[in-house]
């Protein structure tokens, strides 16, 4: 019991920290406590993981909305829409609506999993390369079509993102060194963090700084949550259901999981809102909710292949699987299924407490209200540069990241008037997209 309580608080603490600090995702957080995990019982490991993943989502969303700091690529839509709302004095609405959407989607995913257990074999079809290529193609087309640029510009961004991601040594394709110029640091490719900071975050900062002004932020309240929930019930039922369903199903894709589900749900909502001429360029709350809810639904469904088929499809679940093997636990299906109940309990407790603590954190951030927006972004940029170095320095690659950031920053400046999300998603999805297409070739 003591171990279980410790696992909960470790998950909670790490979820808070990893949600706030970019680059510290769920997987890296788990590596930080690897020796603890090795010493724990499987139920405690699962309890800690579910708490960490759940709380991480709430805090990551707050960081993206308030600070325009993307913890991972899945935070980009939250950053684009949520921070847009924050800049226009609607930060509180963004945070409360996203939190309720996330909670609903998590609950939706858990219920869906529960009722779909007898039919899980249908969902395993999504492991099929053909379906993956189809979904990835849809994701690519929608982001190119619906981003706020001319289509050819978005297409160009998508291609540039792919080219940047291809830099490195590709052993899978028989040892192709692409644009490495004999530089050893480039053989492992470029990190996501400098690309995201230079080519996405900096343009956002520059656009927002142009007009100057001061931050307006009221924090959150119980009354505000109730009002947001009421409004969502009246106006966003379809958005919630659609996005949660997309998140839950696409979360099954190995390797990319909820990264792709977030993108697909966001693009779908973006397309619908634009078609109906309802899209708010100053930050669209429906699109924000779509991204956040699909993200959360995907987190839970991505665990299902491990729990019910012994197949880890994300780095975090693979780590858990490896720990079980290291502990000489035979990871059979009945064993994994026995962990299902603790997962449910973990979800219930961590969701409520995560919401509560995130609310306190948000209200603490009210001190930002009234700050000069330009100074705010200068401080945020300095912080991001430090994080970009520190996160990679663990692998002696901090300086490499800084050099890459410096090389890309001028391009970020030049692209300040464009939505560069297609570039970032081109970068993120390139690996799995190209490999899937390449593999498809061998089937015919």
């Amino acid at each position: 019991m003591y171990e279980l309580v410790s696992a909960f608080f470790v998950g909670l603490g790490l979820g808070v920290v990893s949600g706030i600090v970019p680059g510290l995702n769920v997987f890296v957080s788990m590596l930080l406590v690897f020796p603890l995990l090795i010493s724990w019982e499987p139920t405690s490991i699962m309890f800690m993981y579910i708490t960490l993943a759940s709380v991480h989502q709430y805090f990551g969303s707050v960081s993206a909305t308030v600070f325009a700091v993307p913890g991972t690529s899945t935070s980009l839509p939250a950053l684009h829409e949520g921070h847009g709302m924050f800049q226009n004095g609607r930060g509180s609405e963004a945070i409360m609506t996203a939190a309720i959407g996330s909670f609903f989607a998590s609950f939706f995913a858990i219920v869906l999993i529960h009722f779909m257990l007898p039919y899980l074999s249908i969902f395993y079809q999504i492991f099929n390369t053909h379906i993956q290529v189809l979904l990835l193609t849809i994701a690519a087309i929608t982001i190119v079509v619906f981003a706020d640029n001319k289509i050819w510009i978005s297409l160009l961004f998508w291609i540039v993102g792919n080219v940047l991601a291809m830099i490195g040594l590709h052993e899978y394709y028989g040892g192709i060194a692409f644009m490495t110029f004999g530089i050893s640091a480039l053989y492992t490719g470029i990190d996501l963090l400098p690309v995201m900071i230079a080519l996405y975050v900096v343009p956002v900062f520059l656009r927002a700084s142009k007009n100057g002004g001061r931050i307006v932020f009221d924090g959150v309240s119980m009354g505000g949550y109730i009002e947001a929930a009421h409004n969502m019930y009246k106006q966003m039922k379809m958005t919630l259901l659609r996005s949660s369903a997309i998140g839950a199903v696409v979360g099954f894709i190995p390797g990319i999981s909820w990264g792709l589900s977030t993108m697909l749900a966001y693009n779908t909502e973006l397309g619908i809102r634009k078609r109906n001429q309802q899209y708010n360029k100053q930050g669209d709350v429906n699109c924000l909710v779509a991204a956040e809810s699909s993200n959360n639904a995907g987190v839970y469904t991505s665990m299902v292949p491990m729990l019910f088929a012994g197949i880890p499809i994300t780095a975090s679940t693979a780590l858990i699987y490896n720990i079980f093997m290291f502990k000489n636990i035979n990871p059979t299906l009945p064993f994994f299924e026995s962990l299902y109940q603790i997962t449910l309990v973990g979800f219930g407790i961590s969701s409520f407490i995560g919401l509560l603590i995130a609310g306190k954190y948000v209200n603490f951030l009210r001190f930002l209200s009234g700050l000069d927006i330009r100074k705010f972004y200068i401080v945020m940029f300095a912080l991001l540069v430090v994080i970009c170095y520190v996160v990679a320095q663990e692998y002696y690659a901090g300086f490499d990241n800084l050099v890459m950031l410096a090389c890309l920053l001028p391009f970020g400046y030049l692209l300040r008037n464009y939505n560069t999300m297609p570039l970032i998603y081109g970068f993120v999805l390139q690996d799995i997209f190209v490999e899937s297409v390449y593999r498809l070739y061998f089937f015919y």
Binding site: V17, P35, Y172, G174, I176, P254, R439
Partner: protein, 301 residues
Amino acid sequence: MTNIKKILSVAVLGLSLIVGTNATAVAETDITQLKGPGDVNVLLYYRAGGSYGRMSQQVIAPNLGDDFKEIKNIRGCAKMAEFVKNTDEKMFGLWDWFSTNEALEDGSKNPCYIEPENIVSISHAFPYRACHVTGAEGRGLDDFVNGKGVKIGIMAASGVYKAQATAVVKSINPDAKIIPYSSSKKYIPGLKSGEVDYIYAPQMRDWMTCVASTDVKETQFTNFSKLSDHYLADKNTYPAFAAFNMDMDEAFALAQKIQNSPEMVKFLAGTGHNLPSQLSLSRAEQLEFMNEWYKTIQASK
């Protein structure tokens, strides 16, 4: 009431952060963060949570005892290769010699290449097995060998492994369709979805039935050498130990100490890997064996 709520909230937040910080502090007793009194560094260019990373942390480092200095976790084999060539510190650890030996597609030297003189010995072995989903209709050894157009997923993380798997599988069933996957995270789901009929890979799961193996020790399976006369049909894959700025006799003794340790036994039991019979050979004979393995791949391309 509001005050009680505030106090409770702050208490929970504080407690979480304290425990979270403590967890990080406990994690700092993780051997990757520690420095020992010795002068031998453990080289690590894989992610800490993977199989090689775990072996470096949980098996190699503890076996260095007082000789342990620290784990040098450097991103990527190319940077590590550059580092070990330019340092005068003692370095010891796992090296995927088969992959890093391989020239690039354009014929240029692999940036991860290290000289054979730095290879200490075989570290351990991971066998390849042919497996299908348990209960899948029509699947079995006969179908694997004779099935027309059966789809076989292979581990193709690098060109050399792709060539090895292709050579052995094609020597058994020339009509098989070979589908390359970059990692187990992709071919295991691929098998589960039914897009491939078999996998030829080191992983087994309880929902799979395996029908053949490259490992002669795995007598519960048909050995591939009974189905093929290819030289590699009864050969596994063999990660190596590499050492830099160390006396090779000292490094070889260290390798043997690691292989005979209880930590290694535990690690192997959890991964399905094993200690191959070639470990009884001298260092020179082991290097010759690995060289032969590698040359066979080159010849079969």
